[in-house]
Assembly symmetry: C2
Homo-oligomer: 397 residues x 2
């Protein structure tokens, strides 16, 4: 049987493809610290579960394709508190931020069209761009240059007549880079000058540290036709399993095209949307403690990473990921070693090999992404295993 | 801003695009019988809600990309009771049957590849085929020929070197056509001879009337590499809002490609999967009353349709749809008339104009699809409004 070129070019997620080996290690009695995936251990707000348990219809019916009205209104209210005036008609509820990206790429890309992203990039974007027939064009960044991509020359260098959009995850996944308002303005001006969409994935919006200000591309009214905001309850409210994402844009034509895609898949889950509405109605003070906790975990993780000789990484300013270059030949082989051959007192560690986060040839083979989603003690323990593992791995060869 | 050719060629769902007019009619105080959408009024089994309310984790975490183990096992058990030996590794949980179709098209279609479907076809398939760069090639059928497409000459006539799959909804949406085992065998032999996938959407499997036997393509072991079964809890358990579908196939390469797509979108909603597991564990006797009820509604609907002079339709043998050709110039205009200008004692009716269910030029303009998902009395009342509406519509011109 024949398969499409597109699907053959795709890869298993580097974040998830080693899960079977971690499961096997756990089955063999090892404790495995899961630093591979952005799955926080923060408790999901009780408001979600209360709303879900309170669902009392006899028939679990289809929701509106655009989204449950209650959720659209709660989301509009959340944006209002951020100073953004997205109304119901500007919003679409999606199956997680993932479906939002998938739909957006389908709506804007023809075969061979290009999407610009800072490298290292969140690898699943590449799958969605590829699914739509397009390709990711990277702006290479490194730990040494502070993962800086908001530089006029760097961006304009990769713009071609096939460029359709600049995709930005801010705060960044997988580097934790946070843009200043001036940097955002620079990107906005470039998008306007070249008639490009800015697809701003701001799912980590609240997680910005060191007293830096939280910003959003939605506040650049001069580029309202270009700007598309992607959001999700997954990280924001530690509700990854709800799969409730959203798209917000003032571009009416875009929203109409997206609605066609949304109607074809009928709707998002009804009950999860009702739960998500309760989350978006939470008082913003909810984030104060969460942010403090993540900042603490970031600090502890950075402290622990500094113990690893030969490591290179940039200190993240937001979100909850750190991309590091390890002093090993191959991060995937090293991970397999940790999962199948190594332990410290019966404990080992899993991370995401970050080779797939790069498109520049030859780059990223020794890079990994860790997510500081576990409590400080576990982060310290997990990173210590990486440190000890590197010594054992490099000495056995 | 530019949009993709693909998305520009797509249309709003004919099943959903008139919803705003129905909402306006309701807001103006009219009762609107909703025969447009396959949204049953049958109570969702309490087992679903019990399982959902029983979820007691602190963190609503991502599920496995392939699906929650409990659901995979329940689904395997359901298939086992049908005599099919799909194991965990042969199964993938999807966001409704819709995502299953979307993923399958992405996995098998290159630009310009073709998918064969009986016409009239479920229109959302066309969107997913188009999204993957392919096109639907129709086998035209009519009420007069009993919507018969399982005919060697008819199928072979439309096979080209670009054909990749035959998509079959059995029992059929939108015609209610049910294949005999001999007809299925004929299709299986053609698929084997031409190396084609059979994508068998069997979400209405249990709803077969007049004592006809329930069948499944899964039972043709000789074509296990070609056959892909799509299922969903939506209609089967009246749980449309759960959005839990699935793909089952013994083709390991296909399942691997699908897993890549599944990992990119991370997972399906955790809680709904737990609810769906409870549904697939229900005793098969659950379907006895449901089937009897739908058969009764079918009979009442057919009786009521027979009162409409000049109507053409085939009596459905399964599922819960009837495609009818009305004696009007344009089904969309007629529907707008019903929703905006007409009522019988403050009541009116909505159906799905079926033009979008046809790709043969000039065909289907007067066709509609009605879903007999409402109780017998409402079906009678709704169809009576169509009857009276036709008289008023045709006499006013």
């Amino acid at each position: 049987m024949n398969f499409s070129h597109k699907v053959q070019a795709m890869e298993l997620s580097p974040i998830r493809k080693f899960v079977p080996y971690a499961d096997a290690a756990r089955a063999a009695g090892k404790k495995v610290y899961g630093l591979n995936i952005g799955q926080p251990d923060i408790k999901t707000p009780e408001a979600f579960f209360q709303a879900v348990r309170g669902f009392d219809e006899d028939v679990l019916a289809y929701a509106n394709s655009q989204g449950v009205a209650e959720l659209l209104d709660a989301l509009a209210g959340y944006y209002k508190r951020l100073g953004l005036d997205f109304e119901r008609k500007d919003l679409l509820i999606t199956n997680g931020g993932s479906e939002a990206i998938n739909m957006l790429m389908t709506a804007i890309l023809n075969e061979g069209d290009e999407v610009i992203m800072a490298e290292p990039f969140y690898t699943n974007y590449k799958t969605f761009v590829g699914q739509a027939g397009g390709k990711v064009v990277a702006i290479p960044t490194t730990a040494e240059d502070g993962y800086q991509y908001a530089v006029k020359e760097k961006i304009e260098k990769v713009i071609s007549d096939r460029t359709r959009a600049i995709c930005i995850i801010n705060p960044g996944n997988p580097t934790g880079k946070v843009l200043t308002r001036d940097e955002m303005k620079l990107i906005v001006d470039i998008a306007l000058a070249h008639d490009l969409f800015i697809i701003a994935d701001e799912v980590y919006r609240e997680f910005v540290y060191d007293g830096k200000e939280m910003t959003t591309f939605g506040s650049f009214k001069e580029a309202a036709q270009n700007i598309v905001i992607v959001d999700s309850v997954s990280k924001r409210f530690s509700a990854c399993g709800a799969r409730v994402g959203s798209i917000a844009s003032k571009n009416e034509e875009l929203m109409l095209h997206l609605l066609k895609l949304a109607q074809a898949r009928l709707c998002c889950p009804t009950i999860d949307q009702i739960g998500a509405a309760a989350l978006y109605r939470l008082d913003p003070s909810y984030f104060n403690d969460i942010k403090k906790e993540y900042e603490h975990r970031r600090n502890v993780s950075v402290e622990a990473l500094n113990e690893i000789e030969g490591i290179k990484y940039g200190v993240p300013e937001g979100a909850f990921y750190i991309t590091c270059q390890l002093p090993v030949d191959d991060a995937e082989k090293f991970l397999m070693f940790l999962l199948t051959e190594f332990d410290v007192d019966g404990r080992t560690c899993m991370f995401a090999p970050a080779g797939g986060f790069f498109s520049t040839p030859g780059v990223g083979k020794a890079d990994i992404r860790i997510a500081y989603v576990l409590n400080a003690e576990d982060m310290r323990a997990g990173i210590n295993i990486i440190k000890e593992g590197i010594k054992a791995y490099n000495s056995r060869k």
